[in-house]
Symmetry: C2
Subunit: 481 residues, 2 copies
């Protein structure tokens, strides 16, 4: 291992222990000498790691006392419970979503939902994909079974069982990304004009699906740590003719929370009482930082009313376009919708991914990515806390690679994004995550790429520009809504 | 070249010249000796070829006169002009389509829409796919541009220009097969309950889309050689609130005709007069037997009302799931529908196919497949003519790899299919191609695989069983409708 690698490794190790609370703000760290012994590195290497952590603001040196975990400012509070429009509304904002999903790649990919494509643990997948393309029998290039490759569906049931949901391969339909799974679920459950209850903020892609299908979104207040408000949801179910609940209960995008298990159970009981179906978006669930991963809503579903949507786009490679739908009791209609939506899914990537899982590569890859994303969450939170204006709140993700940042109310994330373009930067502005265009003062940051000096500089630049905008904008009364 | 290859080649060459009408029924063929000289083969080889053609029933030996093109029975007449239900109806028949598209592979693939996956001219594509999977930069595994790889879209404009339609790369949206292109076109043009005029018989996948979207199909009488009846279409447009025309004017599936150019122009004029959009399914258009390929409807479209749907599923490999939509003036809405349907399309296959075209492999492959399919159409028509019951009519395809067979009215193709299963065989039964379940006495045969003795045996078995069914069923009055 080169010196650079040793120094990086030790720095990451320390950051991880701090992020996990092994050392808490104000705690004294073991001495540099102790670290040298524990990790078998030279004093030079250890000192370089400590200096880098100090530069990051994670630790602080006190003369003749050693290093302490920084507590310069209190941990950023979590975002407030959201207060969306509590009536069904039509979704808009396609122009902004379009510029996000079709726009050129802003540097560092802070805006989009891209995982780390360069992870070394993905290499075996690249090899398997090439081998299958070259060596598979010609017949495998034909139309596949409509529901997908049986071997892959089998492996997907294993993944779902880790979330406590026991399914058969026949209960799974392979789709063109989770996007198609969500689209199919919405199409079989709803007719134009129907009302769908959603957590809020929520994934903008799902919001756009509601718009395209002519559905109305009923946004439910959501707590940044415990998820959708069951009390508000119950009121909504009593008041409005809700056709389905569309929700991301585990490793939520954009808020990063996982609903506690007892709240998931209560949610399901509520849905049962009101006889409403639930579309469970679990696309980040396999990237939960804690093992075992949180239970799926589907794990408690006794009457097939939960339609679980997921994919390999966040865990492996989005360009494969491989997702799945576990449609519960709606299987027959889901299969028909799959047929008329895209026919079967691409064949060879399915076989390659199935083999990647069978050979244990997938488990190793997931373990590595969970560690990486947890570590990076801590570092990006730290930078946001240091560089963003006073009054900023930030999420504390339990999985995935997204950070939700809530600035003071006067802040305008759409205006900031225009400004950021000049710097070759971009964020996902808050209003995309709301059917009614709320969250103008919020933004989402992606932290999937291995953290680097230039990403740190980018985050600090965003924070500085946000602060400058706020100073220019005060007092708020003079601003357009 | 081995003797087998030489003998096969000469046999195919002769069959092709007969199919193309170089030698017509009753004509005397040049002598075996002349063929030996012309083709540089031995007498043994030439005689083997002639014997095989005679066994196929294509030629007949007359003692001391030589070989003659067979005219044992007159050429089978074309199927009759269809007489579908001329009012809007809801589509059904999903069970039968499902068993066709999800069912196990019956021997010889006579039922499904699969091209020849073993064509040697596809080998460079396999290599390119493997190379791209292995060597592409990681970034190419991310989310692609929503509209698709610009290099591929550029190549698609070149393909479309061969059909006379001049488009820019920005006018093209890459989709997950033509299935997604058709689904997007229908979703942006129609609301549930709307009436769509269709040629009849028509592709069952499109019929199922109408069903899933809650649309009504208005089936228009269609001539097996000239296509949709413009007179009947005009009456329908006057009488019903038709929202769009969904049509396969070139290398029609299942009938194989290409509408004459002046009729395509008249169709477009009619659509313009009634201000109706046209969804043009061109999925077999690049497999027209005659060069240059027939013009696209889109080639005459001056106001962007034609939405052309196509794919590489019939020309290359269905398992790639690569199609495209040229949505005319509906581009913005099509792009939104694409986003909410599946997001972007799989990335690497796009790059590999673009390179396959750029390097000239695609043109070579298309030329080879057109020759092969034309030759095979002739042979399968010949077998059907010989082995199917008297009164059978058969299409004369101008492209693609599908044969439409119309038997006497008393025949029941669904019942035959049940019977064929015992023999490990299957056909696409006629009612799948009609919204109102017409064409029970028709069936479609796929002739994409290189013709072999065992395929011949299969076709003859189907013909024999059909004949036996008809004998059992007469008189028809005793049959349920």
């Amino acid at each position: 291992m080169t010196r650079e690698k040793r120094y990086e490794r030790l720095k990451d190790l320390l950051a991880e222990r701090i992020a996990q609370g092994v050392y808490r703000p104000g705690d004294r760290l073991p001495s540099v000498r102790q670290w040298c012994r524990e990790q078998g590195v030279s004093m030079t290497t250890a000192q370089a790691s400590f200096a880098a952590l100090e530069a990051d603001g994670l630790i602080k040196a006190r003369p003749r006392s050693g290093y302490f975990v920084a507590e310069a400012r209190p941990a950023a509070p979590a975002p407030r419970v959201s207060r969306p429009e509590q009536r069904p509304v039509r979704v808009s904002r396609w122009e902004q979503v379009q510029s996000l999903v079709t726009g050129g790649e802003a540097r560092h990919g802070l805006a989009q939902g891209m995982p780390d494509l360069r992870a070394p643990t993905l290499r075996p997948l690249r090899r398997l994909l090439a081998t299958h393309q070259r060596d598979s029998a010609s017949a495998t290039f034909g139309y596949d079974r409509l529901a997908g490759d049986p071997a892959l569906r089998q492996q997907i049931t294993h993944l779902m069982s880790q979330g406590g949901a026991l399914r058969q391969a026949d209960d799974i339909i392979v789709t063109t990304g989770a996007q198609e799974a969500l689209a199919i679920a919405l199409r079989i459950l709803c007719q134009p004009g129907d009302v769908i209850a959603v957590d809020s903020p929520a994934f903008y892609g799902a919001m756009q699906m509601l718009e395209a299908r002519g559905l109305q979104a009923l946004e439910i207040p959501t707590d940044a740590q415990r998820g959708i408000s069951l009390e508000a949801l119950e009121l909504a179910l009593e008041r409005w003719p809700v056709k389905a609940i569309l929700i991301t209960p585990t490793c939520n995008n954009p808020l990063g929370y996982s609903m506690p298990e007892e709240r998931k159970r209560a949610l399901l009981a509520l849905a049962r009482r009101h006889d409403v179906a639930i579309i469970e978006d679990d696309v980040y669930g396999d990237l939960a930082y804690d093992a075992p991963r949180p239970r799926l809503l589907a794990s408690e579903d006794s009457d097939g009313r939960v339609l679980t949507c997921s994919s390999f786009s966040k865990t492996l490679l989005p360009g494969l376009r491989l997702g799945w739908l576990a449609p519960g009791r709606y299987r027959d209609r889901a299969l028909h919708e799959k047929y008329v939506s895209t026919g079967c899914s691409a064949t060879l990537a399915q076989a390659a991914v199935a083999e990647f899982i069978v050979r244990g590569h997938h488990a190793r890859h997931l373990a590595a990515m969970r560690r990486q994303y947890r570590r990076q969450a801590g570092r990006m939170r730290c930078w946001v806390q240091q560089a963003f204006p006073a009054g900023t709140r930030v999420s504390d993700p339990r999985g995935g690679f997204m950070l939700w940042v809530e600035l003071p109310e006067a802040f305008d994330s759409l205006a900031l994004n225009v400004h950021l373009q000049e710097h070759g930067l971009g964020v996902a502005p808050g209003p995309l995550f709301s059917a009614s265009g709320k969250y103008g003062h919020c933004l989402r940051l992606n932290f999937s790429s291995p953290m680097s000096d230039s990403i740190e500089t980018a985050v600090r630049t965003i924070g500085r520009l946000a602060g400058e905008q706020l100073q220019r904008r005060e007092p708020r009364a003079s601003m357009p809504a």
